[in-house]
């Protein structure tokens, strides 16, 4: 556990890191970034909390089993969406330009970007983002766990 200054700043920064990470995931199909980058930003938030509060406090907040559950769900969602396109081919973008969810046609030319386009890409970004934030989060946690056990001996 680190000093009070660090912890206070962590408390302030943490929510904005989370929001920024989810923003990146959500706008993956419009702006630079995407599922992996957003997930990595969120996981860096977890790493920040881990450093500020120490492993022993944090491990009660993020359960490793929950994180690996989330990871499986993310990966399953990604491949599941890929399988859903199998009416045409594997990974087929069956939602694009269909008028439904994320189904608006893409506007060509200079425009601010419409979130409701790109078909399955945003869904896949969410799946990847979920997987990456859970995966990287558990990597960070497990490494902290390994180092802590090493120190004990």
């Amino acid at each position: 556990m680190m000093s009070k200054i660090v912890r206070t700043i962590t408390n302030i920064l943490y929510s904005s890191i989370l929001i920024f990470g989810f923003y990146i995931i959500m706008h993956g199909h419009l702006t630079p970034g995407g599922g992996f980058q957003g997930g990595a930003v969120v996981a860096s938030g977890i790493a920040l909390v881990l450093i500020a509060y120490g492993y022993d406090t944090v491990r009660n907040w993020f359960k490793k089993s929950n994180l690996s559950f989330l990871e499986s769900i993310g990966a399953l969602a990604f491949i599941g969406i890929a399988f859903l396109g199998i009416g045409t081919t594997f990974f087929y973008n069956f939602l694009a330009n269909s008028g439904g969810l994320f189904g608006d046609p893409t506007v060509i030319g200079i425009n601010p970007g419409n979130l409701d386009t790109s078909g399955v890409l945003p869904l896949m970004n969410w799946a990847v983002g979920l997987k990456v934030l859970a995966g990287l989060g558990s990597v960070v946690l497990l490494m902290a766990y390994g180092i802590r056990k090493g120190d004990e001996e």
């Binding site: 690996s68 559950f69 990871e71 499986s72 990966a75 399953l76 491949i79 599941g80 890929a82 399988f83 396109g85 199998i86 045409t88 081919t89 594997f90 990974f91 087929y92 973008n93």
Partner: protein
């Protein structure tokens, strides 16, 4: 409906199952094992359908995410931009080997991994490794090949270092991972060079445009070294004994096909990507020299080993040498009339040796795993007289050892005989070395048999569990069947695979059209 999507399903199904495994194993352990075996069984069936499909109808091109491979610009310029899967006879030949071995690995793991913790992770990694190997074998895209190469590397190293209570497994996994990653980065570098030069990632498109310039030669060197490392050729073989010896036995079994997937990548690059544009003599001789070095160094190092699995692992290095030798001879004669005379035959021997090698080496690793499981000892000096208690394992070991040493009527004999006789016409010296190595191979397995299975009974050993016997039995039956009917196997699947490698134009036109 299923037939249209076979290549994607072969890769997608194990991948989907891999991530479902942790969820299934929350319910019940036994259910999880049945689930994994069932998925691998279905995958084997899918691969078999793909095999029939490809052998009947020719090369199967599958486009991911769209209907056609290319993108036609308004200017009329057509470029193949999509990721494609391209299954020809060689790919499905490797895929069926992979599918059989993975299924057997999963069956064997049921009892073997009984007392370990974290089995859900084990099965997840096993399925990812299988999916990655299928990906390497079926893909038609260079970058995709790199991605699957890395997927197999990560999964394989995770499995090698699975027993975190042993320092040695972590050490082996570390070393293997460093070399795998470096090799994969070399491959990526080569892919970058090829992309920068020809503006394509598709193997068929690259092959149609390739010029064999200076940069191509550098890319060739990088690909050759990186993939030869993955295949475990001397002098890049040092990770092989570490990884094979420290991995749990079913993982060693799957690692054998993993190295062969690297070998497949090497053959694909040399024959389909570069093909006749190579200076075939030079590259053929490089392969031959790598092969001879692997055979000789592998077997002589095996002779002085005391650890059971390490000894077999060095034997594995020397078997990879045979495949490199035969294919090297095929490549060296690629542009000459000698190809029809004996080059094709040598390649047939090599490719046949790939499937034989997977079967008998897998069998040997499984018997070694059974010995370690039942006695708890890894060192040959500490075990003796196991034939008293482990009757099945002894018989299976004799079958495996006979096959690896090339004794009739086992399958190793058939493929080695083809290699000896056809390589003799190319250069008699190479054939002599190959036979010498075979004799030494017999010597090293006599050493194991004498010290571990014969001799006085020193230890009290457990009986081998049923699922392990079943897995070894299946492999033994395959070994004997391939030995009794080698002509059927060669005619049905090996010859088409060799023809698919040699006929580069078919591979290109299947994607680009006439």
């Amino acid at each position: 409906m299923i037939n249209e999507h076979l290549p994607a399903l072969v890769i997608g199904l194990p991948l989907l199952a891999a991530f479902a495994t942790p969820l299934v194993s929350k319910i019940n352990d036994k259910l999880r094992n049945i689930f994994v075996i069932g998925i691998l069984g279905i995958t084997l069936y899918l691969v078999y359908s793909l095999l029939c499909n490809v052998l009947n109808d020719g090369i199967f091109v599958y486009v991911m995410g769209a209907r056609s491979t290319g993108l036609t610009l308004p200017s009329g310029y057509k470029m193949p931009v999509r990721i494609i899967l391209e299954a020809d006879a060689m790919s499905v030949f490797m895929a069926i080997t992979t599918a059989v071995i993975s299924l057997i690995g999963a069956i064997y793991s049921w009892a073997f991994m009984d007392k370990e913790t974290g089995k859900d992770k084990f099965y997840t990694l096993l399925l990812i490794l299988t999916a990655g190997m299928f990906g390497m074998e079926l893909t038609g895209d260079m970058f995709n090949f790199f991605v699957f190469l890395e997927i197999t590397s990560i999964a394989a190293c995770g499995l090698v270092g699975f027993r975190i209570t042993r320092g040695e497994s972590s050490e082996a996994a570390f070393k293997t991972m460093v070399l795998y990653t470096l090799g994969a980065l070399f491959v990526l570098f080569a892919v970058g060079i090829l992309y920068g030069e020809y503006d394509a990632l598709n193997i068929a498109t690259l092959a149609s445009r390739i010029q064999y310039t200076m940069l191509d030669k550098i890319a060739l060197g990088l690909l050759l070294t990186g993939l030869a490392m993955k295949a475990g050729a001397v002098p890049m073989h040092m990770w092989v004994p570490d990884a094979y010896a420290e991995a749990p036995a079913p993982v060693s079994l799957v690692l054998v096909v993993n190295t062969q997937a690297g070998l497949y990548g090497l053959f694909r690059v040399l024959f389909s990507l570069y093909g006749a544009s190579l200076s075939t003599q030079t590259v053929g001789w490089i392969l031959i020299i790598l092969g001879v070095l692997s055979m000789f160094v592998g077997v002589t190092m095996a002779l002085i080993q005391d650890k059971l699995k390490r000894l077999i692992a060095y034997g594995a290095v020397s078997q990879i040498g045979y495949m490199l030798l035969g294919v090297g001879v095929g490549l060296a004669t690629l542009n000459t009339p000698a190809l029809q005379e004996y080059g094709m035959r040598a390649m047939e021997g090599s490719i046949f040796h790939v499937i034989n090698d997977a079967m008998y080496k897998g069998l040997l690793f499984l018997t070694a795993g059974a010995v370690i499981y039942c006695t708890g000892k890894r060192n040959l000096n500490e075990i003796s007289g196991l034939a008293h208690d482990m009757k099945f394992t002894s018989i299976f070991f004799i079958i495996g050892a006979g096959a690896i040493a090339g004794l009739p009527p086992f399958n190793g004999f058939a493929s080695k005989l083809i290699i000896y006789e056809s390589v003799y016409k190319f250069n008699p010296m190479l054939s002599v070395i190959a036979i010498l190595v075979s004799i030494l191979t017999l010597a090293i397995f006599v050493k194991i048999f004498q010290s571990a299975f014969l001799g006085p009974k020193l230890l009290d050993v457990k009986k081998e569990p049923r699922s392990m016997v079943l897995a070894m039995l299946v492999l033994s039956i395959i070994v004997i069947a391939f030995g009794l009917f080698p002509d059927v196997v060669v005619d049905k699947i090996v010859s088409p695979a060799v023809n698919a490698l040699i006929n580069r134009m078919d591979y290109i036109t299947a994607v680009l059209g006439g």
